[in-house]
C-alpha cells in the first residue's frame, strides 16, 4: 500500500471513530433527555399550568401538609431504624467469622429483591385482620394495617437493606487488622467500633442514609397496600399524588409531585457530592 493511501485510510478511520463517538454521545444524551429529563420538566410544567396561585393552594392544602408530615415521619423512622440495623449487621458480617454468613447476607437482601406490593401483602398477612399477630396486637389496642404504624413499618421493610448494603463492602475491604490490634490492647467492642471502625465508614454511611431517604420518601407500592387510603390519616405524599391524580385534580397532583421532584434533585446532588467526597477519602 502506498504512503498516501495509508494516510488516507488512517484519516478515514480517525474520522470514522469521531463519527461513532458523536453518534453514541447523541444517542445516550437523547435517551436520558427523553426518558429522565422530560418527565421532570413535565411535572414542573403541569404543576404550574393553572398559575402560581393554584400551585400554592395545592401545596398548602391541609391534606398535603399532613401527607408531607407522615412522609417525613416514615422516612426519618426508616432511616433511624435501618441505620441502627445497618451498623450492627455490617459490623457482625464483616468483623466476625461464623457459619451461615452467606445465608444471613442473602436474607437481609430479601426486601430489595421482592416486589413492593408483595412486601405490603406480607405485612397485611401478618398484622391485618386475618394475620396471626392481629389478636395479640388488638388486645393491646395496637393497630398496624390501615394505620400510621403500618405505613412506617412498610417503609422500614422496603428500605431495610439499604444502609447495610453500602457499609458491608467498605468494611469488608478494610479487613479486621485494625480492630484486632485494638482488641489486643484490651479495648472494648464499643470503643473499637466508635474509634477505629466508624471513621472508615463515615461516607459510606452517609451515602446509605441518602439512598435510604430517597427510597423511603418515594415508596409507593407497599405503602399503598397497607394504607387503606385514609385521607389525612394514612396518606403519604406519593399516595396523595395518586389520590389527586385519580380524582382528575391533575394540577394539584403535579404540584404535590413537584415537591417530590425537588427533594429527588436535592438527593441526587447530595448523592453525587458524597460519592465524590468518599472517592477522595479513599473509601470507595
Amino acid at each position: 500500500m502506498s504512503q498516501t493511501n495509508k494516510a488516507i485510510q488512517q484519516k478515514s478511520t480517525n474520522s470514522n471513530a469521531k463519527g461513532v463517538k458523536v453518534l453514541l454521545i447523541s444517542l445516550g444524551v437523547i435517551f436520558i433527555f427523553i426518558m429522565l429529563v422530560i418527565p421532570m420538566i413535565a411535572v414542573i410544567t403541569y404543576a404550574f399550568q393553572d398559575g402560581l396561585k393554584a400551585y400554592q393552594e395545592a401545596i398548602f392544602d391541609p391534606y398535603t401538609i399532613k401527607a408531607l408530615q407522615l412522609t417525613l415521619l416514615a422516612t426519618v423512622t426508616a432511616v433511624a431504624i435501618n441505620t441502627v440495623f445497618g451498623l450492627f449487621a455490617a459490623w457482625t458480617i464483616t468483623k466476625f467469622k461464623f457459619r451461615g454468613k452467606q445465608l444471613l447476607t442473602t436474607l437481609i437482601d430479601i426486601p430489595f429483591a421482592i416486589s413492593p406490593v408483595i412486601a405490603g401483602l406480607v405485612l397485611v398477612l401478618t398484622f391485618g385482620k386475618i394475620g396471626w399477630a392481629y389478636d395479640f396486637l388488638n388486645a393491646y389496642d395496637i393497630k398496624i394495617v390501615f394505620a400510621v404504624p403500618g405505613i412506617i413499618l412498610a417503609t422500614v421493610f422496603v428500605t431495610f437493606p439499604f444502609i447495610s448494603r453500602e457499609l458491608i463492602p467498605v468494611l469488608s475491604a478494610q479487613g479486621t487488622d485494625e480492630e484486632e490490634a485494638a482488641a489486643l490492647m484490651g479495648a472494648g467492642g464499643f470503643n473499637i467500633f466508635r474509634k477505629v471502625t466508624l471513621p472508615h465508614i463515615k461516607w459510606a454511611l452517609l451515602y446509605g442514609i441518602v439512598l435510604c431517604t430517597a427510597r423511603a420518601m418515594g415508596e409507593f407500592g407497599a405503602v399503598s397496600v397497607i394504607s387503606g387510603h385514609l385521607r389525612g390519616k394514612t396518606n403519604t405524599l406519593p399516595l396523595h399524588v395518586e389520590i389527586l391524580y385519580n380524582d382528575f385534580q391533575l394540577t394539584s397532583a403535579f404540584a404535590v409531585a413537584s415537591i417530590l421532584v425537588i427533594l429527588a434533585v436535592i438527593i441526587l446532588i447530595l448523592r453525587n457530592l458524597i460519592e465524590y467526597k468518599a472517592k477522595k477519602a479513599g473509601e470507595k
Partner: protein
C-alpha cells in the same frame, strides 16, 4: 521457660496449620520464627497473642495458662505484618490508644507517648496520619504502639517484609538494639534466613505446621536435625539414594543425604585433578548471578546439585566440568551425621 507451647494443634477446615507444636522460650530472648511461606508462622504467633484459638494444646506465659484469657488481657504487644495502624488516627493517637484503653491519666499518656516518639525518632510527626509516613516510619509507629502499654511479650509478624532492602538492613539492627534496650521478650516471624540469623538469639524453624528445629543460628547451621532444615538453611540438595556417587557406596539404602553448596567443588576439565577417582563428571545446567557469587546448577549422574562459584570462575551452560563432593549429611530414621567422601580418603592414603 517464659513462654511455652505444648502440643498445639490448629486446623483451618481440613487444612492443618499447626501440627503438634511444642517449644519454650526463655525470658528476655529474641526469637526468630523462620519457615517458608504458608508453614504456619503467623498462625503460631496469632495463637500466642490470642487472635486465634488452638484446637488443642496449652499455651503458658510466665507460668500461667493463657488459653482462656482473652487477647486483650494477655499483656502482649503485637506488630502486624502490614502494621494495621489506625488509618484515621494521628501518630500520637495511635500510640496513645492502648494507654487510653487502660484509662491512664492524660498526663501519663502524654509523657509515655512523647518518650516513645523520641525513642523511635519521629519527633515532630505526632500529628501526621499513617498514610503520610514512609514504610519504615510506619513500622516504627507500629512498634511504639505495641510497646506503649509496657507488654511483657512482644510479637512481630514479618516486621520488615513491607520495607525495601536498603532501609531494611538499618531497621533490623535498630530493632534489635531497641529490643535489647527495653529488655522485652520478643518473637518475630520471618521467611528470610539471613534476617533470622542476623537478628535472633534463637531460631525456630517451621515447616508444614510443624516445628522442625529450635536452636541458636550456629547450631542450626551446623547441626540441622531434619532434611528440611538442612535444605532450607543452605541451598542444599536432598538425595534419596547417593550410593551411585563416587565414594559414598557404603551408605545404606533408605538413608537420605543432603549436599550443601559448600560441600561441592567444581573444576575445569583441563585442570589437574588431585582426587581422580573421586571426581565425577558433570554438566552445567544453569548459572545465576547472585551479586557476590554465581549460583551454579550442575547435573551429575542424573542428579541436579547446587553449588557456588566465585566471580572469577566463569563457566558456560552445557560445559562439562569435574565435580568433587567432599562430604554429605546423611539422615537415617532419627539422627543425622556427616559422612566424608571415602574415595578421597582412600586415594589420599595411597598418595601418602
Amino acid at each position: 521457660m517464659y513462654v511455652e507451647l505444648k502440643n498445639i494443634d490448629k486446623s483451618f477446615g481440613s487444612f492443618q496449620a499447626s501440627n503438634d507444636v511444642n517449644f519454650g522460650i526463655e525470658q528476655g530472648k529474641l526469637i526468630g520464627l523462620l519457615g517458608p511461606s504458608g508453614s504456619g508462622k503467623t498462625t503460631i504467633l496469632r495463637m500466642i497473642a490470642g487472635l486465634e484459638t488452638p484446637d488443642s494444646g496449652d499455651i503458658y506465659i510466665n507460668g500461667v495458662r493463657v488459653n482462656d484469657i482473652p487477647a486483650g488481657k494477655r499483656g502482649i504487644g503485637f506488630v502486624f505484618q502490614n502494621y494495621a495502624l489506625f488509618r484515621y488516627m494521628s501518630v500520637f493517637d495511635n500510640i496513645a490508644y492502648g494507654l487510653e484503653v487502660q484509662k491512664k491519666s492524660k498526663e501519663e499518656i502524654k509523657d509515655r507517648v512523647s518518650e516513645l516518639i523520641k525513642l523511635i525518632g519521629l519527633e515532630g510527626m505526632e500529628k501526621r496520619k499513617p498514610n503520610q509516613l514512609s514504610g519504615g516510619q510506619r513500622q516504627r509507629v507500629a512498634f511504639a504502639r505495641a510497646l506503649a502499654p509496657n507488654p511483657q511479650l512482644l510479637l512481630l509478624d514479618e516486621p520488615f517484609a513491607a520495607i525495601d532492602a536498603k532501609v531494611r538492613q538499618e531497621l533490623r539492627s535498630w530493632l534489635k538494639d531497641m529490643i535489647y534496650k527495653i529488655g522485652v521478650t520478643s518473637i518475630f516471624v520471618t521467611h528470610d534466613q539471613d534476617e533470622a540469623i542476623e537478628v535472633a538469639d534463637e531460631i525456630i524453624i517451621t515447616n508444614h505446621g510443624r516445628v522442625e528445629q529450635k536452636g541458636s543460628p550456629l547450631e542450626i547451621y551446623k547441626h540441622p536435625e531434619t532434611p528440611f532444615v538442612a535444605q532450607f538453611i543452605g541451598q542444599s540438595t536432598i538425595l534419596e539414594d547417593c550410593t551411585r556417587l563416587n565414594g559414598f557406596a557404603e551408605v545404606k539404602p533408605g538413608e537420605k543425604a543432603v549436599i550443601r553448596p559448600e560441600f561441592i567443588n567444581i573444576t575445569r576439565k583441563d585442570e589437574v585433578q588431585k582426587y581422580i577417582s573421586a571426581v565425577e563428571e558433570g554438566t552445567i545446567e544453569a548459572i545465576a548471578y547472585r551479586g557476590s557469587y554465581f549460583e551454579i546448577k550442575v547435573r551429575v549422574k542424573g542428579i541436579l546439585l547446587t553449588t557456588t562459584a566465585v566471580l572469577e570462575d566463569v563457566y558456560e551452560i552445557g560445559e562439562k566440568v569435574g565435580v568433587l563432593i567432599y562430604r554429605l549429611y546423611i539422615f537415617d530414621e532419627d539422627n543425622a551425621y556427616l559422612l566424608e567422601n571415602k574415595a578421597m580418603v582412600d586415594i589420599n592414603s595411597v598418595f601418602i
